[in-house]
């Protein structure tokens, strides 16, 4: 059973349109949803949560329609949004009490352990938290009710590298259990690059690709050569290029360029930027 299945998801606004999105997150996997600001990541997540209504398409979470038994569904889903919206006057301890009376499977010990590990004080008011601390509280809450699926929307942006690393480590540990899955959206790709099993590129409401991360990194590579050499290549092999006064650089499909050509490995971020620019 897949943790998340999205088919033909469409939502139109006046100046933006999420266009027939298809996405499958197999159980036990981590999927990184990469896209620039305004690409549609948050819209997608809001549609998953049923915060906004879809124009078309289906969404199933752990096999169930996301519009049915919504409250029950949310018991098993941990969500962290980029704005952790707890009222400013609440303290960590109060949040814990509220959550204890909200979730069936609330584990207060786990919650306090997370806060302790993250050095989040129990008695400080939320309005006095730094951004990193707010995020850590959000993550602690999301992980303390035995969720099967974690959805994180830009949960690492604005965090310093040390905290980001802590968070990535926690997410890594979360998926040691094969019943646990994660959908994480971000425009900071470096966090996702190592962690993810699947990568999806979202750009202006359209899904550019959704593949196994390893397969992606093997399929594409970068070549550096003279512009003439570049022109000699099969057009379908070249996914994006950049020419300067000193030569040309191109993203290519490894299996479509001549053998012996020196193809360097590519990073996910570079791939995304090239693909977006090429599309323009």
């Amino acid at each position: 059973m897949n943790a998340l299945e999205i088919k033909g998801l469409t939502k139109a606004y006046r100046d933006f349109r999420l266009d027939s999105l298809d996405l499958v997150l197999p159980s036990g996997c981590i999927m990184g949803l990469i896209g620039e600001n305004g690409a549609g990541k948050s819209t997608t997540i809001k549609l998953i949560l049923n915060t906004i209504r879809r124009d078309a398409g289906t969404i199933t979470i752990m096999g169930k329609d996301n519009r049915k038994n919504v409250q029950l569904m949310k018991e098993d889903v941990g969500i962290v949004l980029d704005d952790v919206g707890f009222p400013e006057c609440l303290t960590g301890k109060q949040v814990g009490k509220i959550m204890r009376n909200t979730y069936r499977n609330w584990d207060n010990k786990a919650y306090e352990d997370y806060l302790r590990k993250f050095s989040v004080p129990m008695d400080k008011e939320f309005k006095d938290f730094s951004r990193g601390m707010k995020m850590k509280l959000g993550i602690a809450v999301a992980m303390s009710h035995d969720p099967k699926l974690l959805i994180l929307d830009e949960a690492t942006s604005g965090l310093d590298p040390v905290v980001r690393d802590e968070v990535v480590e926690m997410l890594n540990e979360f998926t040691r259990d094969e019943g646990h899955s994660i959908l994480i959206s971000s425009h900071i790709v470096s966090d996702l690059e190592k962690l993810c099993d699947y990568i999806a590129f979202l750009h202006k409401g359209k899904l550019l690709l959704c593949e196994e991360k390893d397969a992606l990194l093997e399929e594409f590579g970068i070549i550096h050569c003279a512009p003439e050499t570049l022109r000699e290549l099969d057009a379908s092999a070249v996914k994006g290029k950049k020419e300067t006064a000193y030569g040309a650089e191109a993203i290519v499909k490894r299996n479509a360029v001549p053998v012996g050509m020196d193809v360097s490995p590519i990073g996910i971020e570079e791939l995304f930027v090239f693909m977006v620019k090429e599309g323009k």
């Binding site: 981590i30 094969e178 190592k194 099993d197 390893d214 990194l217």
Partner: protein
Amino acid sequence: MNVFIDNKRGAPIYDQIYSQIKAQIINGELKEDEALPSIRNLAKDLRISVITTKRAYDELEREGFIYTLPAKGCFVAPKNVELLREESLKKIEEYMQKIAQLAVSCGLSKEEVVEMFMMNWEE
């Protein structure tokens, strides 16, 4: 078991894992019937994708270096002399191909290469 991953350069990660485990099996660092970390735990310990480690293990199993017991995990297969010999043969062939490529690129003829080889063998 020691596995090091080079992210920046180098072969695809699954290949690095596969090669390193294979080498350790061949040189005896990993003993027969020794338990390997599960696909999932290895991935999480190395902070890489489960799909990657699965691929490495699948490859190792396909070539007979490890075996899987359902619900128990993966273990090092007993040393297979045939297998080891085959490994060495494969490596020799790899090197030979490289030699041939290099020779062609600097204009050596087949005879010249064989001559070089004979000289090196005798030493």
